[in-house]
Protein backbone atom coordinates (compact mmCIF):
# COMPACT_ATOMS: atom_id res chain seq x y z
CA UNK A 1 0.00 0.00 0.00
CA UNK A 2 2.76 2.41 1.01
CA UNK A 3 4.64 1.50 -2.15
CA UNK A 4 1.54 2.14 -4.24
CA UNK A 5 0.96 5.56 -2.66
CA UNK A 6 4.63 6.41 -3.15
CA UNK A 7 4.47 5.38 -6.81
CA UNK A 8 1.30 7.38 -7.37
CA UNK A 9 2.87 10.42 -5.71
CA UNK A 10 6.03 10.05 -7.80
CA UNK A 11 4.04 9.72 -11.03
CA UNK A 12 1.92 12.79 -10.35
CA UNK A 13 3.14 15.79 -12.30
CA UNK A 14 4.39 18.50 -9.98
CA UNK A 15 2.41 21.73 -9.92
CA UNK A 16 4.39 24.68 -11.23
CA UNK A 17 3.25 27.92 -9.56
CA UNK A 18 4.92 29.99 -12.29
CA UNK A 19 2.22 28.73 -14.65
CA UNK A 20 -0.26 30.99 -12.83
CA UNK A 21 1.79 34.16 -13.13
CA UNK A 22 0.73 36.17 -16.15
CA UNK A 23 3.69 37.70 -18.06
CA UNK A 24 5.92 34.83 -16.84
CA UNK A 25 7.32 32.81 -19.73
CA UNK A 26 5.98 29.61 -18.12
CA UNK A 27 2.45 31.00 -17.88
CA UNK A 28 -0.12 28.43 -18.96
CA UNK A 29 -3.70 29.35 -19.83
CA UNK A 30 -4.71 25.72 -19.23
CA UNK A 31 -3.31 25.61 -15.68
CA UNK A 32 -4.57 29.10 -14.92
CA UNK A 33 -8.06 28.08 -16.05
CA UNK A 34 -7.96 24.85 -14.02
CA UNK A 35 -6.93 26.64 -10.83
CA UNK A 36 -8.54 30.07 -11.19
CA UNK A 37 -11.84 29.38 -13.03
CA UNK A 38 -13.94 29.84 -9.86
CA UNK A 39 -11.92 32.90 -8.93
CA UNK A 40 -12.83 34.32 -12.32
CA UNK A 41 -16.48 33.34 -11.81
CA UNK A 42 -16.57 35.20 -8.47
CA UNK A 43 -14.95 38.19 -10.13
CA UNK A 44 -17.43 38.22 -13.02
CA UNK A 45 -20.52 37.84 -10.79
CA UNK A 46 -19.32 40.62 -8.51
CA UNK A 47 -18.21 42.87 -11.37
CA UNK A 48 -21.59 42.53 -13.10
CA UNK A 49 -23.79 43.08 -10.06
CA UNK A 50 -21.62 45.37 -7.91
CA UNK A 51 -19.87 47.50 -10.53
CA UNK A 52 -21.92 47.43 -13.73
CA UNK A 53 -25.48 47.00 -12.42
CA UNK A 54 -25.53 48.15 -8.78
CA UNK A 55 -28.58 50.35 -9.35
CA UNK A 56 -30.47 47.45 -10.89
CA UNK A 57 -29.41 45.09 -8.12
CA UNK A 58 -30.56 47.35 -5.32
CA UNK A 59 -34.13 47.26 -6.64
CA UNK A 60 -34.30 43.46 -6.72
CA UNK A 61 -36.01 41.41 -4.00
CA UNK A 62 -33.87 40.50 -1.00
CA UNK A 63 -33.74 36.79 -1.92
CA UNK A 64 -32.12 37.61 -5.29
CA UNK A 65 -29.54 39.89 -3.71
CA UNK A 66 -28.72 37.27 -1.09
CA UNK A 67 -28.46 34.62 -3.82
CA UNK A 68 -25.92 36.81 -5.67
CA UNK A 69 -23.87 37.25 -2.48
CA UNK A 70 -23.88 33.50 -1.81
CA UNK A 71 -23.01 32.74 -5.45
CA UNK A 72 -19.88 34.91 -5.14
CA UNK A 73 -18.78 33.27 -1.92
CA UNK A 74 -19.62 29.75 -3.14
CA UNK A 75 -17.37 30.41 -6.14
CA UNK A 76 -14.59 31.54 -3.78
CA UNK A 77 -14.97 28.33 -1.74
CA UNK A 78 -14.69 26.23 -4.91
CA UNK A 79 -11.61 28.24 -5.90
CA UNK A 80 -10.03 27.47 -2.51
CA UNK A 81 -10.54 23.71 -3.13
CA UNK A 82 -8.83 23.95 -6.54
CA UNK A 83 -6.00 26.08 -5.11
CA UNK A 84 -5.39 23.65 -2.23
CA UNK A 85 -5.28 20.73 -4.69
CA UNK A 86 -2.78 22.67 -6.80
CA UNK A 87 -0.60 23.61 -3.80
CA UNK A 88 -0.53 20.02 -2.49
CA UNK A 89 1.02 18.84 -5.75
CA UNK A 90 3.89 21.36 -5.48
CA UNK A 91 7.32 20.43 -4.25
CA UNK A 92 8.44 21.76 -0.87
CA UNK A 93 10.28 24.89 -2.03
CA UNK A 94 7.55 25.98 -4.41
CA UNK A 95 4.95 25.36 -1.72
CA UNK A 96 6.95 27.52 0.68
CA UNK A 97 7.20 30.35 -1.90
CA UNK A 98 3.48 30.12 -2.72
CA UNK A 99 2.38 30.18 0.91
CA UNK A 100 4.70 33.13 1.65
CA UNK A 101 3.27 34.96 -1.38
CA UNK A 102 -0.26 34.16 -0.19
CA UNK A 103 0.40 35.66 3.26
CA UNK A 104 2.04 38.67 1.67
CA UNK A 105 -1.01 39.10 -0.56
CA UNK A 106 -3.52 38.85 2.29
CA UNK A 107 -1.54 41.23 4.55
CA UNK A 108 -0.93 43.81 1.82
CA UNK A 109 -4.57 43.65 0.63
CA UNK A 110 -5.84 44.08 4.17
CA UNK A 111 -3.62 47.14 4.58
CA UNK A 112 -4.75 48.64 1.26
CA UNK A 113 -8.45 48.00 1.93
CA UNK A 114 -8.35 49.49 5.42
CA UNK A 115 -6.42 52.54 4.23
CA UNK A 116 -8.59 53.02 1.14
CA UNK A 117 -11.90 52.67 2.98
CA UNK A 118 -10.80 55.08 5.72
CA UNK A 119 -9.72 57.65 3.12
CA UNK A 120 -12.94 57.15 1.17
CA UNK A 121 -15.05 57.62 4.29
CA UNK A 122 -13.24 60.88 5.04
CA UNK A 123 -14.04 62.07 1.50
CA UNK A 124 -10.41 62.14 0.35
CA UNK A 125 -10.97 60.77 -3.16
CA UNK A 126 -13.97 62.98 -3.86
CA UNK A 127 -12.02 66.04 -2.72
CA UNK A 128 -8.92 65.23 -4.79
CA UNK A 129 -10.31 63.51 -7.90
CA UNK A 130 -13.99 64.56 -7.89
CA UNK A 131 -16.87 62.10 -8.24
CA UNK A 132 -15.96 58.85 -10.03
CA UNK A 133 -17.22 58.48 -13.58
CA UNK A 134 -19.16 55.38 -14.51
CA UNK A 135 -21.27 54.91 -17.66
CA UNK A 136 -23.46 52.39 -15.84
CA UNK A 137 -24.49 53.91 -12.55
CA UNK A 138 -23.82 56.34 -9.77
CA UNK A 139 -20.80 54.91 -8.01
CA UNK A 140 -18.55 55.77 -5.12
CA UNK A 141 -14.81 55.49 -4.65
CA UNK A 142 -15.44 52.50 -2.37
CA UNK A 143 -13.76 49.20 -3.18
CA UNK A 144 -15.79 46.92 -0.92
CA UNK A 145 -16.71 44.25 -3.45
CA UNK A 146 -15.52 40.74 -4.23
CA UNK A 147 -14.40 41.95 -7.68
CA UNK A 148 -12.07 44.53 -6.11
CA UNK A 149 -10.82 41.95 -3.61
CA UNK A 150 -10.08 39.50 -6.46
CA UNK A 151 -8.02 42.08 -8.35
CA UNK A 152 -6.12 43.39 -5.30
CA UNK A 153 -5.40 39.93 -3.86
CA UNK A 154 -4.38 38.57 -7.26
CA UNK A 155 -2.08 41.53 -7.96
CA UNK A 156 -0.35 41.29 -4.60
CA UNK A 157 -0.05 37.50 -4.93
CA UNK A 158 1.81 37.96 -8.23
CA UNK A 159 4.07 40.61 -6.73
CA UNK A 160 4.74 38.54 -3.60
CA UNK A 161 5.49 35.45 -5.67
CA UNK A 162 8.08 37.32 -7.73
CA UNK A 163 9.69 38.78 -4.58
CA UNK A 164 9.94 35.45 -2.73
CA UNK A 165 11.00 33.52 -5.81
CA UNK A 166 14.00 35.86 -6.25
CA UNK A 167 15.24 34.90 -2.77
CA UNK A 168 15.84 31.31 -3.91
CA UNK A 169 17.26 32.03 -7.36
Amino acid sequence: MTRMLYTIAMNTKLSVPDELIMFDRQFSWRTAWKVCRWWLAAFVISAVFDLVLPDWKIHQPLRWRVTIVFAEFFAIVLFVFDAVKFIRRMDELQRRITIAAFFFSVSASFFVFVLWLRLEREGFFNAVFGPPFSPFSTTTWGIASVAHACVVLGGFYGLGFLIFKRRYK
Binding site: M10, L14, D91, E92, L93, Q94, R167, Y168, K169
Partner: protein, 65 residues
Protein backbone atom coordinates in the same frame (compact mmCIF):
# COMPACT_ATOMS: atom_id res chain seq x y z
CA UNK B 1 23.82 24.52 5.71
CA UNK B 2 26.68 23.39 3.48
CA UNK B 3 26.26 20.43 1.15
CA UNK B 4 28.03 18.37 -1.48
CA UNK B 5 25.04 17.95 -3.76
CA UNK B 6 26.56 19.66 -6.81
CA UNK B 7 29.76 17.64 -6.43
CA UNK B 8 27.86 14.35 -6.13
CA UNK B 9 25.57 15.21 -9.03
CA UNK B 10 28.41 16.08 -11.38
CA UNK B 11 30.24 12.89 -10.39
CA UNK B 12 27.22 10.95 -11.62
CA UNK B 13 27.05 13.22 -14.71
CA UNK B 14 23.45 14.15 -13.98
CA UNK B 15 21.93 17.49 -14.86
CA UNK B 16 19.91 19.39 -12.26
CA UNK B 17 16.77 18.27 -14.10
CA UNK B 18 17.85 14.61 -13.93
CA UNK B 19 18.39 14.85 -10.20
CA UNK B 20 15.14 16.76 -9.74
CA UNK B 21 13.24 13.98 -11.55
CA UNK B 22 14.89 11.29 -9.43
CA UNK B 23 14.00 13.12 -6.20
CA UNK B 24 10.51 14.17 -7.34
CA UNK B 25 11.14 17.90 -6.91
CA UNK B 26 11.59 20.84 -9.27
CA UNK B 27 14.89 21.89 -10.86
CA UNK B 28 14.55 25.19 -9.01
CA UNK B 29 14.65 23.31 -5.69
CA UNK B 30 17.84 21.46 -6.66
CA UNK B 31 19.43 24.74 -7.72
CA UNK B 32 18.41 26.45 -4.44
CA UNK B 33 19.87 23.57 -2.39
CA UNK B 34 23.12 23.53 -4.37
CA UNK B 35 23.58 27.29 -3.98
CA UNK B 36 22.79 26.90 -0.27
CA UNK B 37 19.85 29.25 -0.41
CA UNK B 38 17.44 26.57 0.76
CA UNK B 39 17.79 23.78 3.32
CA UNK B 40 15.83 20.68 2.30
CA UNK B 41 13.26 19.08 4.56
CA UNK B 42 14.25 15.94 6.46
CA UNK B 43 12.30 13.59 4.11
CA UNK B 44 14.03 15.15 1.09
CA UNK B 45 17.43 14.93 2.78
CA UNK B 46 16.78 11.21 3.50
CA UNK B 47 15.66 10.62 -0.08
CA UNK B 48 18.82 12.35 -1.36
CA UNK B 49 21.03 10.28 0.93
CA UNK B 50 19.29 7.08 -0.17
CA UNK B 51 19.75 8.01 -3.84
CA UNK B 52 23.50 8.52 -3.44
CA UNK B 53 23.77 5.56 -1.01
CA UNK B 54 25.35 7.78 1.63
CA UNK B 55 24.53 9.03 5.11
CA UNK B 56 22.78 12.40 5.44
CA UNK B 57 25.73 13.91 7.33
CA UNK B 58 28.06 12.91 4.48
CA UNK B 59 26.05 15.12 2.11
CA UNK B 60 24.77 17.90 4.37
CA UNK B 61 26.86 19.68 6.96
CA UNK B 62 25.20 21.88 9.57
CA UNK B 63 26.57 25.36 10.25
CA UNK B 64 28.61 25.58 13.43
CA UNK B 65 26.73 28.50 15.03
Amino acid sequence: MKNKLRELRTTKEWSQSDLADKLGVSRQTINAIETEKYDPSLPLAFKTARLFKMKIEEIFEADKD
